[in-house]
C-alpha cells in the first residue's frame, strides 16, 4: 500500500510533464535551479568541513534550523502544502490510517523541494568526511531533519486546516504564525550583539564566536537538534548527543501524533467545513452601490473581499504589517524608521490581491461570460473596491509611519511612493490577470491548500506581476528612496509628483489593456479555469 502511494505520486509527477510544455520547462528549470543550489551548498560544506569542522558544524546547525522552520511555517503562510495526494481522496478506499500516514509521508519525499532537502541534508554531512563517527551522526541527523521537515509541515497544515476554515480563528492563527517571524528579529539583534562583544578579535573570529553561541542555543531547539548531532560527536560530548537525539526523536514523534490525530479528524469531517450557515440580511453592497453592471461587479468584489476566506487571508497580512515591522525594527535597532515601509508594502499587497481574480472566481466566472459582461466593466469592478478601501488605508499607514518614525519630512516622498505602488500594482494586476490565470484553492477550500501541479504556472504569473510592477515603479522608488535617505526635501516633492503620475497612468493603461485582452479571449479565459476542475 505504501509503495502504491509512492508510485501514484511518481506517476502524478511524471504526468505533469505531459500536461503542458510550459509546465515541463518550468519543472526542468526548477530542478536545475535546485540542483545548482544543492551542488553549491554541498561543495561549501565540504570545503568548510575540511578547513574548520567545528565552525562548519555550527553554520550547518543554524542554516538547517532555518530550513526546518521554513518547512513548518511557509506552507501555513504562503504557498500552502502540496495537495497532490489529498488524504480526503482516499476516504472511500478503506485504507488503515497507519498505512495511509506512512504512505503519505514517504510519498511526500517525491517532490522537488523534498528531494532537494533530502539530498542537501545528506550532502552537508560530507563536511565531516574526516571523522567517520561524526559523519555517521551527521547522516542520521540529516535523515531525522528531513523527516522533521516533511512530517512537521504536514502536521502544521493538517492541524491548522479546520481552524483556517473558520473565520474567527483565522486572524488568531495568522498572528500565531507571525510569532516565529518576529523571533527572527531578536535572533539577529543578538547575533549583532555577539559580534560587537567579540569585536576585540578579528572580524572572522567574532562572527565565528557569534555563530557558535547561536548554534549552541539552536541546537537545543527541535529545529536545530538533528543538525547538531555531528557537532556533539566532534566535541566528544556524548551526553549532549543523547539529549539532542532525544529532542529530535521526541519532536518527530509528537509531530507524527499530531498529524495522525488531525488526519483522523479531517477524514471524518465533511469537506469545506466552516459552513456556519450564517445568513446575511438584505442585499449588502448590492443595495448601496449604483444599480449598473459596474456597480454590481464592484459590489460582488467588495462582498468577496470580506466573506471569502481566500481573499480575507491575503489581506489578513495588512493589519499585521505594523506589528511585524515594529517588532523587527525594535529588535534590530532600526527603530520606528522601518515603519516607513509599511504604506508602500500595504499598497503593493492590496494591488497584488487581485492579480488572479479570475482564478479565484473559478468556474463561477461563467456568469460573466454568459451575460457578456464587457472587459471594461469587469476590470474596473474588481479594481474600484480595492482602490476605495485601500487608498485611505495606505494614506493612514503613511501618516502613522511618519509619526512613529518622527520623519514628517519624508511624507511627500512616502505618499508619492505609496500612490505609485498602489496604482501600478492594481493596473499591472488587472492586465496580467486577463492573460495569465493559475489554479488557486477552489471556493470553499482552505486558503492554505495549494492546488496540484501548478507551482510553476503560479510562479511565472506571480513573477511577471511583481517584476513588471517593480519595473514601472522604479523611477518613483529611486526618487523616493533618495529623498528619504539623504534626506532631500525637493526630491520628495518630485517623488510625490512622479508617483502620482505613474500610479494613475499605469492604472488607466493596465486596466485598459486588461479589458481589451479580456474582451478578446473571454471564452478562452473560462476554458482555462474550467481546466482547473
Amino acid at each position: 500500500m505504501v509503495a502504491q502511494l509512492v508510485r501514484l505520486k511518481l506517476t502524478l509527477l511524471a504526468n505533469t510533464f505531459r500536461r503542458s510544455v510550459w509546465q515541463t520547462i518550468g519543472l526542468v528549470v526548477g530542478s536545475l535551479y535546485g540542483l545548482g543550489v544543492l551542488v553549491l551548498v554541498v561543495a561549501a560544506a565540504i570545503v568548510g568541513g575540511t578547513a574548520d569542522p567545528a565552525l562548519t558544524g555550527h553554520v550547518v546547525t543554524v542554516a538547517g534550523a532555518l530550513v526546518v522552520l521554513a518547512w513548518w511555517v511557509v506552507p501555513v503562510f504562503a504557498f500552502g502544502v502540496d495537495a497532490t495526494l489529498d488524504p480526503r481522496r482516499f476516504v472511500t478506499f478503506a485504507i488503515p490510517r497507519r498505512t495511509l500516514l506512512a504512505g503519505l509521508a514517504l510519498a511526500g519525499l517525491v517532490s522537488i523541494p523534498a528531494a532537494v532537502t533530502t539530498l542537501g541534508a545528506l550532502g552537508v554531512s560530507l563536511a565531516w568526511w574526516r571523522q567517520p563517527a561524526a559523519l555517521l551522526a551527521a547522516l542520521v541527523g540529516g535523515v531525522l531533519a528531513t523527516a522533521l521537515c516533511l512530517v512537521g509541515s504536514r502536521a502544521a497544515t493538517t492541524a491548522l486546516a479546520p481552524l483556517l476554515d473558520s473565520r474567527r480563528y483565522r486572524e488568531v492563527v495568522a498572528i500565531a504564525a507571525v510569532v516565529p517571524l518576529v523571533l527572527v528579529g531578536p535572533a539577529f539583534g543578538w547575533l549583532a550583539d555577539g559580534v560587537e562583544v567579540a569585536a576585540g578579535g578579528s572580524d572572522a573570529d567574532a562572527l565565528g564566536a557569534a555563530v557558535a553561541t547561536l548554534a549552541q542555543v539552536v541546537g537545543w531547539t527541535p529545529l536545530g537538534a538533528p543538525w547538531a548531532l555531528a557537532s556533539a560527536v566532534h566535541d566528544g560530548a556524548w551526553a549532549l548527543l543523547v539529549a539532542r537525539l532525544a529532542i529530535s526523536l521526541g519532536t518527530l514523534a509528537l509531530a507524527w501524533v499530531v498529524w495522525d490525530r488531525a488526519l483522523a479528524r479531517e477524514l471524518v469531517t465533511p469537506h469545506g467545513g466552516g459552513s456556519s450557515s450564517a445568513a446575511a440580511k438584505g442585499l449588502g453592497w448590492f443595495g448601496r452601490l449604483p444599480a449598473t453592471p459596474l456597480g454590481a461587479v464592484a459590489a460582488r468584489t467588495a462582498t468577496y473581499w470580506v466573506r471569502d476566506p481566500r481573499y480575507a487571508a491575503s489581506i489578513a497580512m495588512v493589519p499585521l504589517l505594523p506589528l511585524v515591522l515594529l517588532a523587527v525594527g525594535m529588535t534590530n535597532g532600526a527603530g520606528g524608521g522601518l515603519l516607513l515601509v509599511m504604506a508602500p508594502l500595504a499598497a503593493w499587497l492590496l494591488g497584488f490581491g487581485i492579480s488572479n481574480d479570475v482564478g479565484y472566481d473559478n468556474t463561477a466566472f461563467a456568469l460573466h461570460v454568459a451575460t457578456g459582461t464587457p472587459g471594461r466593466v469587469d476590470r474596473w469592478g474588481r479594481v474600484l473596491p480595492v482602490l476605495a478601501g485601500g487608498a485611505p488605508l495606505c494614506v493612514a499607514f503613511a501618516l502613522v509611519g511618519c509619526a512613529v518614525a518622527g520623519r514628517w519630512d519624508a511624507l511627500p516622498a512616502l505618499l508619492g511612493l505609496t500612490a505609485g505602488t498602489l496604482g501600478a500594482s492594481l493596473g499591472i494586476s488587472s492586465a496580467v490577470s486577463a492573460r495569465l490565470v493559475y489554479p488557486v484553492p477552489k471556493p470553499g477550500e482552505s486558503p492554505f491548500k495549494s492546488p496540484q501541479g501548478a507551482t510553476m504556472a503560479t510562479m511565472v504569473a506571480q513573477m511577471a506581476t511583481m517584476g513588471i510592477t517593480l519595473a514601472v515603479s522604479l523611477p518613483t522608488l529611486a526618487l523616493a528612496l533618495t529623498a528619504i535617505l539623504l534626506p532631500q526635501a525637493a526630491l520628495g516633492w518630485a517623488a510625490l509628483g512622479v508617483g502620482l503620475v505613474t500610479g494613475v497612468l499605469v492604472l488607466l493603461l493596465g486596466v485598459r489593456w486588461g479589458a481589451r485582452t479580456y474582451d478578446r479571449r473571454l471564452p478562452e479565459l473560462l476554458q482555462q479555469v474550467m481546466a482547473f476542475g
Partner: protein, 274 residues
Amino acid sequence: MSDQTGPPPATPAPVPPPDLAAALSLRGLWKRFGQKIAVAGVDLDVPTGSFFGLVGPNGAGKTTSLSMATGLLRPDFGTVHVHGTDLWAQPERAKAELGVLPDGVRLFDRLTGAQLLTYAGLLRGLDRDTVAERTEDLLQAMDLVGDRDTFVVDYSAGMTKKIGLASAMIHAPRVLVLDEPFEAVDPVSAANIRDILHGYVDDGGTVVVSSHVMDLVQRMCSHVAIIAGGHVLAAGTVSDVRGEQSLEDRFVDLVGGRRESEGLAWLRSSSASS
C-alpha cells in the same frame, strides 16, 4: 468526448444556410480537445417557440454543443445564430437574447440567493426596481423565499440548480438554454419549473434543454434532437423522430450499445460469496 467519432458523410450533403428566423441555428460546429473530436459538424435549427430537447448518451457532445451555442466555448469551425444574430460575430447582442444555465460550473456561492439573483439582473443591465421585483417573483416561483438570505454555498444540489435557473431567466431572454436543468431537483420543484417553462413557451419564448431522461423529454418537449459521437443523428418534432416507437426505443436503435450479456456475474453473488 467519445471515441465514436466516425467520419462525417463522405460527400457532405449541401448544408442549408443558417435559418435566420429560428431561435437558434447551428451550422457546421466542430470542436476538438487535443486528440478527441467532441463535436464533429453539428447542424441544428431550434424553431422559435419550440420546447426543444437535446438527448444523447454520456460524452455525446451535448454540453460542448450547448457551450458553443451560448458563447461559453469558441468553436473551431461553424456558426451560431440567435434569432438571426451571429453569436460569435456580435456576442453582446446575441448574448442579451440568451438565458444560460451551464452544467458543472460553480455559482458565486458566497452571495446569498437574493444577492446572486440581483447580481445576475444588474449584470444584464436591468434597473434596480425591476431587479428587486423579479428577484421576489423568481424566489417565489422556485420556492426559495425562505432561503433568500442563506449563502448559496449552503444550498443543497437541487436548490443550487434552481437558483442557477432563476438567474438565467431574470432578464426575460427570448431563448433559454438549460443544460441538465432537472438534475438533483425534487419532483415537486421539477413540476413547478416545467409549468414555468411551458408558460414561457406559450408566450413565445424558446427553451432548449439537454437531458438523458427520455421519458421526460417525450412528455415535455415539442421537438427533439438525438446527438451521439458528436453528430446529430435525428432531429425534428418529437412525433416525427420517434415514429411508432417510444423515444427511448428509438434512441437505443439509433445510438446502439445495448448488451445482451450475462456480465458481472460475480456482482450478483457478492453477498453469498463473501
